[in-house]
């Protein structure tokens, strides 16, 4: 593997159109240090001038062996590690893991804990989408929305900080429920945030939705059909923007999402603009869910009866939740000991990233940046 071109040797990069005359193709390494690859993604681009003939993603620069670590930690000890995968949606990761182990242990979190989980997870969805919006707009060249979204995301992080002391990698949930009771004034602060945040979505949309340049840059860019999405296993807003009404919160309700009234926004064309609209609508739906959850927050215990030393019966379980980026699944095999025999994570970013080549072929270099942004990948989750 000393040949510098060897990374491309196994690639079957078909040329969509014959290059003009015998123009030399240009091979460009975008990343791992690049301002717009959202971390340490390396994209090998094959270009004809500005046109993308094909590309390949090289990943693994942020590999920490999270799954392997899981085999050497007890179920409780592994819980904080999952926060470090998709670090902008740490709460969702924790929810997925805790629910999976609960399924394995055959316990269920009490209703109050479930409600608080929904509130925090949906707040996290908003925070994740805000971060996506800011960086996506920044990639396309609009620098101002980034600061607006970060300003408003701060309010969510403040709620987290007050609730569990951490802002980013929260470790908010425990297997069987919650460790912390909500702080005094939690409901009021969440509600204040909702009234504060609702006009902010309009503010973001005002800057972008009808902006001529924004529409031109995103319409018909990175189109992907519903069939291709399903064939590649793409989930989340990317799938929904292609017109498939598939949201695990409705399709296989977990936590207590079935108690809440909300809609699944879908798009039509499966292009970058539709994905933008879908995510904006999802933020609005999240606000709706949180509002209902706060209003109906029941009293009661926050922790189910869970043994101090967890020794689930031998067996395996797969459980998945709708993380902000798509289906986040955990597959855990237990051999009856205190540590999992195998932990496998199905990260949405990793699976969605595979669609990048298909979405970018025949488009321009600038579109690659837009598509990486619209896929909303987090390299911590891709590499794990």
């Amino acid at each position: 593997m000393t040949d510098p071109n060897s990374t491309l040797s196994h690639l079957d990069l078909e040329t969509p159109e014959k290059p003009f005359l015998d123009a030399n193709e240009l091979i460009i390494n975008m990343g791992p240090q690049h301002p717009a690859t959202h971390g340490v993604l390396r994209v090998i681009l094959r270009l004809d001038g500005e046109k993308v003939l094909g590309l390949e993603c090289v990943i693994g620069y942020l590999h920490r062996g999270v799954e392997k670590i899981g085999e050497h930690r007890t179920y409780t000890m592994f819980n904080p590690y999952v926060d470090r995968m998709d670090y902008v949606a740490a709460v969702s990761n924790g929810l997925g893991y805790c629910e999976t182990v609960e399924k394995l242990l055959n316990v269920e979190a009490p209703p109050r804990a479930q409600h608080v989980r929904v509130i925090l997870t949906e707040l996290n969805r908003i925070a994740s989408h805000q971060l996506w919006l800011g960086t996506h707009a920044l990639d396309i060249g609009a620098i101002t929305p980034l600061f607006y979204t970060f300003r408003d995301r701060e309010e969510i992080l403040k709620i987290y900080e007050k609730y569990c002391g951490a802002r980013l990698t929260t470790h908010a949930f425990r297997i069987g429920g919650l460790q912390y009771e909500t702080y005094t004034g939690f409901e009021k602060e969440v509600k204040n945030f909702l009234t504060f945040f609702r006009p902010k979505i309009d503010e973001y949309e005002e800057l972008l939705t009808t902006n001529r340049i924004w529409v031109e840059r995103t319409k018909n860019v990175g189109r992907i059909s519903a069939q291709d999405c399903i064939a590649l296993g793409v989930t989340g807003p990317v799938l929904r923007a292609s017109g498939v009404k598939w949201d695990l919160r409705k399709a296989q309700p977990y936590a207590n999402y079935k108690n809440f009234d909300f809609e699944i926004p879908i798009g039509e064309n499966g292009d970058t603009y539709d994905r933008y609209l879908v995510r904006m609508a999802e933020m609005r739906q999240s606000v709706r869910i949180i509002e209902q959850a706060v209003d109906a927050l029941p009293e009661g215990p926050i922790m189910a009866k869970v043994p101090k030393v967890m020794k689930p019966a031998a067996g395996e379980v797969y459980h998945s939740i709708e993380a902000p980026k798509g289906e986040l699944g955990y597959f855990i095999v237990s051999d009856g000991s205190t540590q999992p025999y195998r932990v496998r994570v199905r990260p949405p970013s990793f699976v969605n990233l595979q669609a990048l080549d298909m979405m970018c072929r025949g488009q321009l270099v600038a579109d690659v940046i837009a598509v990486i942004g619209t896929l909303d990948i987090v390299l911590g989750e891709v590499d794990r």
Partner: protein, 429 residues
């Protein structure tokens, strides 16, 4: 010895009674003085623009911007300049040394040379050429050569793509820009003799003679031509939303990716002075150059006197802002130096403002003030664009240049010519 000195003094003094530009009068001493003044003024303007851009952009983006170096970050551009000058001068190993070395020089040269004909006032220009506007357009488009050279010589992929983008972009926008300029020049020929002018000073004088700025001439034709130029000039200077050549999120830094330190700062200097240069073309052609607002509508001595107060009042206003913020400074010993500095800065501005009230000074400086104020308006627009717009994609940019601006420019040119021809027949038979 004595006669020689007297001769020199006489040579220097002889210009003062002339009503021409130093270049026009052929007085080398005053030419040199004017070159020094323009060069210093331009450098100060670039420094000020650097600070203003960071501050204004920051406030648009709900943040503070530079706050640490000096009061409200006033010394930040100077700190940046020192940092850039002290940085190691790197050249990639495989770069073409000579071309790499020449590229920033060409860009800077092109950006500064155009100021030879910029008319800050009826006599306040280094020289007045009869082909002034052509000279400006021609020399300013030389900078694309430097950019292509920089991209090529770096021997690296991103700079190369950046340079290719920028050459294609500048060439296509030059055409639309040229057409808009021609329609403005056409308007200068609407006088009794029917002869137009390409001289920058002549263009402003034509606006004065015709009694309206060309932006309002043949409404909306002048306005459309101005609009075309305003769009093309942003593309010409590679600024947002047309900053494809240095698109940070795509090409890291575009054509100057491999440049650092002093060479990089030359590119920076050239970019900002090119912005000022194209803005002064726009001001000269459409916004009446050095003329104060409403030179004909609100004419007469009282109005002249009122408008002559504006420069001084503006500086006093700046000083007032400084003093207001001095009062708002934290009352902590740590901030004492900054508070004194800000008060001192305000005092200097206030002093300048007071000096500007002195009649002989204000009579001489007024033209320069109005010209600079109009250019400053364009500078603010540049910053505003950057804070608001996403970036165009390469093909969309070309589409806009060739399919929208070019036909528009042609149409406006033909319409302007037709109206100019028909107008005397219809309205003044």
């Amino acid at each position: 010895m004595g006669p020689l000195i007297a001769q020199i003094v006489q040579y220097i003094e002889s210009y003062l009674s002339s009503d021409q530009t130093p270049g026009g009068a052929g007085n080398m001493f005053w030419v040199l003085v004017y070159i020094m003044l323009v060069f210093t003024g331009l450098s100060v303007a670039v420094i000020a623009m650097n600070w203003l851009e960071r501050k204004i952009l920051a406030h648009m983006q709900v943040r503070l911007g530079p706050m640490r170096v000096g009061p409200h970050g006033l010394l930040q551009p100077i700190a940046d300049a020192i940092k850039l000058l002290l940085k190691e001068d790197l050249m990639p190993a495989q770069a073409d040394g000579l071309v790499f070395w020449m590229a920033p020089l060409i860009v800077v040269l092109a950006a500064f040379t155009v100021f030879v004909v910029v008319p800050f006032g009826p006599t306040h220009a280094i020289t007045d050429m009869n082909i002034g506007i052509l000279f400006m357009l021609g020399v300013s488009s030389l900078s694309v050569l430097g950019i292509v050279m920089a991209g090529w010589a770096s021997n690296s992929h991103y700079p190369l793509i950046g340079a290719l983008r920028s050459s294609a972009q500048m060439v296509s926008y030059e055409v639309a820009m040229g057409l808009a300029v021609v329609s403005a020049i056409l308007m200068t020929s609407l006088n009794a003799e029917g002869t137009g002018t390409l001289s920058m000073i002549g263009i402003v004088q034509a606006q004065l003679a015709q009694g309206e700025w060309f932006i309002f001439k043949f409404f909306p034709l002048g306005l459309i031509a101005f609009f075309i130029f305003a769009v093309a000039m942003v593309a010409e200077t590679n600024r947002a939303p047309f900053d494809l050549a240095e698109a940070e999120s795509e090409l890291t830094a575009g054509f100057h990716t491999e440049y650092s330190g002093f060479r990089w700062s030359l590119f920076f200097l050239a970019e900002y002075s090119a912005m000022i240069a194209v803005s002064s073309i726009a001001v000269t052609l459409w916004l009446g150059g050095w003329l104060r607002p409403f030179p004909n509508l609100l004419s007469g001595t009282p109005w002249d006197q009122i408008f002559s107060l504006v420069p001084g009042v503006t500086f006093l206003l700046f000083a007032a802002i400084c003093f207001y913020n001095t009062a708002r400074m934290p009352k902590h010993p740590l901030f004492r130096v900054q508070t004194i500095g800000l008060a001192g800065f305000g005092a200097v501005l206030g002093l300048i403002g007071l000096v500007l009230f002195v009649p002989p000074v204000s009579a001489r400086v007024q033209d320069i003030f109005w010209f600079s104020a109009k250019v400053a308006g364009f500078m603010y627009l540049y910053i505003w664009y950057r804070g608001t717009f996403p970036r165009y994609r390469f093909d969309q940019l070309m589409q806009m240049g060739w399919k929208v601006l070019l036909p528009m420019g042609l149409g406006v040119l033909i319409l302007t010519a037709s109206v100019a021809l028909l107008q005397p027949m219809i309205w003044h038979p």
